[in-house]
Each structure stands twice: as C-alpha cells, then as structure tokens.
Amino acid sequence: MEIVMSIVIGIIFGTAIYLMFSNNIIRVLFGTLMLSHSVHLLLLTMAGLQTGAPPVISLEADTYTDPLPQAMILTAIVINFAITAFMFVLAYRIYQDHGTLDLQQLRGAKDE
C-alpha cells in the first residue's frame, strides 16, 4: 500500500513542479497547491498506513493508527490555506497593477 501511495505522491509532486515551471501565475498557484497536497500525503504515508483502525488508543485495541501525523497534517493544511488565500489575493493585485499574469512580462529589468 505504501508503494502505491509513494507512486501517487510522486506523480502529484511531478505535476506540481511542472505547473510551477509554467509562465502563468495561476498555473504556478495551482502548482503550489498540488505541491502541498503531495507533501501532506507523504507525511501520512511515511508514518505507516494502517487500514481499518481508528487513530485512538484504548486499552483493548490491538491495532490503531498513529494520530500524530494526522494532527500535523491538519496543522499544515490550515497554514497552507492561509498562504494560498494570500497568494491568490497577491495574484489578483498583480493583475490589477501590471495588467498581466504572464511571468515573462513580470521579469522587470527596465526600471532597475
């Protein structure tokens, strides 16, 4: 199961990098979004996947899922939510002021 997840994560990560290399800001933003998803999945997978057991330890339980990675992912998702929201607003402001979302045109060497 971990192997399958690793391949999935690899594909998502690769897609994210591909998107981040493109010239359009919106695509870059989607790239960062996918990047964070792949990293969160990695965190979950690296801790070892347990199927069918809740992340709660009780005295009777003989199997349980490690709750710590889930807590960490939750935190990371919240942080990522804030950053994504900020980045979309930033992209909008860039569009307002520069009138373009093309990163090639935002290289900016003229005024320096």
Binding site: L35, S36, L43, M46, A47, T75, F86, M87, L90, G108
Partner: protein
C-alpha cells in the same frame, strides 16, 4: 517560573491582535507598539539572565517532554531573543518617522508584531514540527510586510519571494515526514537521542542534507540566495532593515541548532564537506554581487549573503572556537547590518534615491550620518578594534588551525572585497562633490539617527568589550556542542 518563557511569543501576539483594532489611529498604534516592544526588551534581558544560570523548559499543559509541545530556553535561544527584541525596538522607532500613513492603515504594526511571534517562537521551540509552524507564522507575516504599500515593484518581486518560500516550506514538511518515519518522533531532544542510538546511517544524512537545503534557502545560502537582493529592495527601509538583520538569521539559527543537536555524527561529510564548501561559495558570490552593484540597498543585501557564509563557515569548521566565532558573528552582524540598512533609509530620505552614483558630498551637510555609516561600514569589513574584527578573527583562526586553508583564504579575500565595496559606498555617497540641492541639504534626519545610534554603539561596545562577550559566546558554543546538555535538560534524565 518556567511559564515566563512563553511570554516572548505571547506578548507580541497579544500586542499585534490589539493593534488590529486600532489600525485607523496612528497615534494609538504608536503608543501601544512602543510599550509592547520596550516590555519585550526588558523581558528578554531578564530571560537571558535566567538562561545563563540554567536551561529553562516549559512543557505546555504539563504534558511531559517527548509527548507534549515544549519550549526550550538555552543560552543560544536567549541570546537570539535578546538581539531580536533590541533590533525590533530600533526598527520600530525608525518606522515611526518613515512609514507612510497609507502603510500604517494597512496593518503595518500588527504584522510587525506577528513577525516577532514567529521569530521568537522559532528560537524557543523544542520540536521540529513547531519549528515549521513558527517558520510559517514568520513567513506569512513577512509576505504581508514585504508587499505592504503595494507598489508595482513590490507586487512583482514579492510573488517570487512567496513562491520560493512556499516551495522550501513544502520541502521542510517533507523532511519532517522522512525523519518521522525513520525515528518516530519530532521532539528535538528525542531526535538527538535516537539518531545517536542508530549512529546516523546514510538515510539520516540524506535527511540532514534536505534540512540544510530548506534552512539554506531561508538563510540565503549559495545557490539559493537569488531571491534576497531583489525582494529586500522593494519594501521601505524599516522593513528591509528588520528583514536583513533578522530573517536570514532565523534560517542560520535553525541550521546551527539542527547540525549541532541532531545531525552531528558525520562531520566529515556534512560539516567539513558540504557546509564548508557552501559557506565558501556563499561568501564569494555574495561579495562579488556587492562589488558589481551601484545601489545602496542592493550592495547591503548582497553583503547579507556573503556574511551569512561566515556564520555557516564557523559551523562547518566545527570546533568550539569556530562555533563561538559564528555566534559572535551573528550578534555583530545583526546589529551592524540593521544599522546600515537604517542608515541607507535615512540617506534615501535626504536624497530620494538609493543609486549611489546619483548622490555625493553628504559629509558636509550631514556629518553625524556620515560618521555613523563610517563606523558601521568599517565594523562590517572587520577593521579592529570594532566588532567585525573580533568575530571574524576566531573563525578564520580556527580555519587555519584545522588545516582548512582554502576556506580561510576565501574568508580573508572576502573581507578585503567587503572593505572595498563599503568604501565604494562611502566614496560615492559621502565624499565627492556636493550633488545635493539646497532643500536636500537642509533636510534634517537627526530624529531618524536616534534609533540607529544604539545599534552603532553596540558595534563599538562589542569591539571594545570583546573579551567578556567572546567568553559568553564560547560558553554558548560549548553548551550547544555537547548535545547531552540539551537532551538531559529536556528529557530530565
């Protein structure tokens, strides 16, 4: 007693939250932020005093060390907190005189304090994942501050800054995931213990390199420094000064912490190999950037890069003397670099430009500014008896002692080039024929010099009182180079 150490995180957080409600009133914001920043300075002096006696641990909610969230205040953390609060106070007072009303209205002060929350938290935390969280708190505030004001240049360059940092943060979480799967913990003390138990096999070294990349991109190491000069050029001087003095050093602090506490078992590859080589390249390319530029702020930004190299070089040589030198260097650099950025801001206020070719002859109309800059500049270049000399000397000396000839030679060469580019600024801006208009030479910046004066004074004091301060750095270096100190204090064994 130990509850005190959460205050450096809590105090700016509360201050920032209150400030949000008074965003409309400039006067009230200034009063509240002055009170809070001064309280922070007093508090951090007291904490440094406490930490000198014994390492202080706070276990949040009484959850014992490896399980709960813990905060650790050892000497290194206390020193960083102390400098941070002093810099924060200076830059804040400088900001009072220079930040425009528009920026004040758009939550400059609240985010200034939220940035301090992140920085202080990163210094105090004893947990790798919380280090990530505090890094993010710091970075998110820095994103807002760096784009605050919304000029065209700021919008364009901060997007690149944000994307690069988001990518580095993703790698950070990835590193945490790997380390967690190998060791099953994120508590720094327990990590140190468990990595020591398994003797740092190859996989852990790979993870160590991953963390080096992450912290290196936040700390502007070669080849991940390209974002720094462009993004520090945009924001107003008060913010650029705080960022220049503070933000990269948080990355360096994280490198020093993780490579003395956790990943110290393979020094031949990580410290003497990777870190030293990267340090040499960082120094060299940073200073070359500075030599080739003709813009006040950009030269200073490139100097940040080259000096970050010295700190990492101290860690790379990895003897108590070298690490003590690196710590001394961090202290010296944070004061002097912030002072220089603020002086650049004051100069910009007079001349309205940061292009050094367009300026000239400020020495006649603004002597105090000139001599302040002169002291800070030669201190940065490492002329005795100022602080720069006493911080570079132990690093380069131990480089020779350890037979690391190449890196020591590079460090000396870089010192020379630093002096050259500082004198370039001095020659263009302060000497030469007077290019100021009548109105410009009448512009008074005395008010702005008041918050800078203590920083320059600290540089002089650090030089003349190098003996006790170096003894303190050596004490810190010996403490962090013996990881059992940290582990025993946290896990109470």
């Amino acid at each position: 007693m130990s509850n005190l150490i959460i205050l450096p995180i809590l105090l700016p957080f509360i201050a920032g939250t209150i400030l949000i409600f008074f965003a409309k009133s400039s006067r009230l914001q200034k009063i509240i932020s002055t009170v809070s920043v001064l309280t922070l300075v007093v508090l951090s002096v007291y904490l440094a005093f406490l930490a000198f006696q014994d390492t202080i641990i706070l276990e949040a909610g009484e959850w014992a060390a490896p399980y709960g969230i813990i905060l650790v205040l050892d000497n290194l953390a206390a020193l960083m907190l102390l400098i941070t609060s002093i810099l924060a106070a200076s830059c804040l007072f400088f900001a009072f005189g220079t930040i425009s009303k528009k920026r004040e209205k758009f939550y400059f002060y609240p985010f200034y304090f939220f940035l301090l929350v992140g920085v202080n938290g990163a210094f105090l935390t004893g947990d790798l994942f919380n280090l990530f969280v505090f890094f993010e708190v710091m970075l998110l505030s820095s994103y807002v501050l760096i784009v605050n004001g919304g000029s065209k240049y700021q919008l364009r360059e901060s997007f690149k800054y944000v994307v690069l940092n988001v990518f580095a943060s993703a790698l950070f979480v990835m590193g945490v995931a790997w380390l967690y799967s190998v060791t099953g913990t994120v508590n720094l003390a327990q990590l140190s213990e468990r990595v020591a138990e398994i003797g740092q096999p190859g996989i852990v070294t790979v993870i160590a390199v991953m963390f080096f990349i992450v912290f290196g991109s936040k700390g502007a190491l070669f080849p991940l420094y390209f974002w720094l000069p462009r993004s520090y050029f945009g924001p107003p001087a008060a913010i650029a000064a705080l960022f220049g003095g503070l933000l990269t050093k948080v990355g360096i602090y994280a490198i020093i912490r993780s490579f003395t506490l956790i990943f110290y078992h393979e020094p031949l590859f990580t410290h003497k190999g990777l870190i030293t080589v990267v340090a040499g390249l960082t120094m060299f390319f940073g200073v070359l950037g500075a030599v080739s530029q003709f813009d006040f702020k950009r030269i200073l930004s490139y100097h940040i890069i080259s000096q970050v190299g010295y700190m990492v070089m101290g860690l790379g040589i990895f003897t108590p003397l070298a690490v003590a030198g690196a710590i001394f260097y961090i202290v010296h650099h944070m004061f002097v670099k912030t002072a220089l950025f603020l002086l650049a801001g004051a100069t910009e206020k007079i001349t309205g430009t940061t292009d050094i070719k367009a300026m000239g002859g400020l020495i006649k109309s603004h002597p105090a500014l000139t001599w302040g800059f002169f002291i800070a500049a030669i201190s940065l270049a490492g002329i005795p008896p100022l602080s720069g000399f006493f911080s570079k000397f132990p690093i380069i000396l131990s480089g020779f002692q350890e037979g690391q000839w190449v890196i020591a030679a590079v460090a000396l060469l870089v010192g020379l080039l630093t002096l050259f580019s500082m004198m370039k600024i001095f020659g263009y801006v302060f000497w030469g024929e007077n290019k100021l208009t009548e109105k410009q030479s009448k512009t008074s910046v005395t008010k702005l010099l008041i918050p800078i004066a203590p920083l320059v004074a600290f540089s002089v004091v650090l030089g003349f009182a190098a003996e006790p301060i170096f003894a303190y750095s050596l004490h810190i270096a010996e403490q962090i180079l013996e990881p059992s100190n940290y582990v025993d204090a946290v896990l109470k064994e």
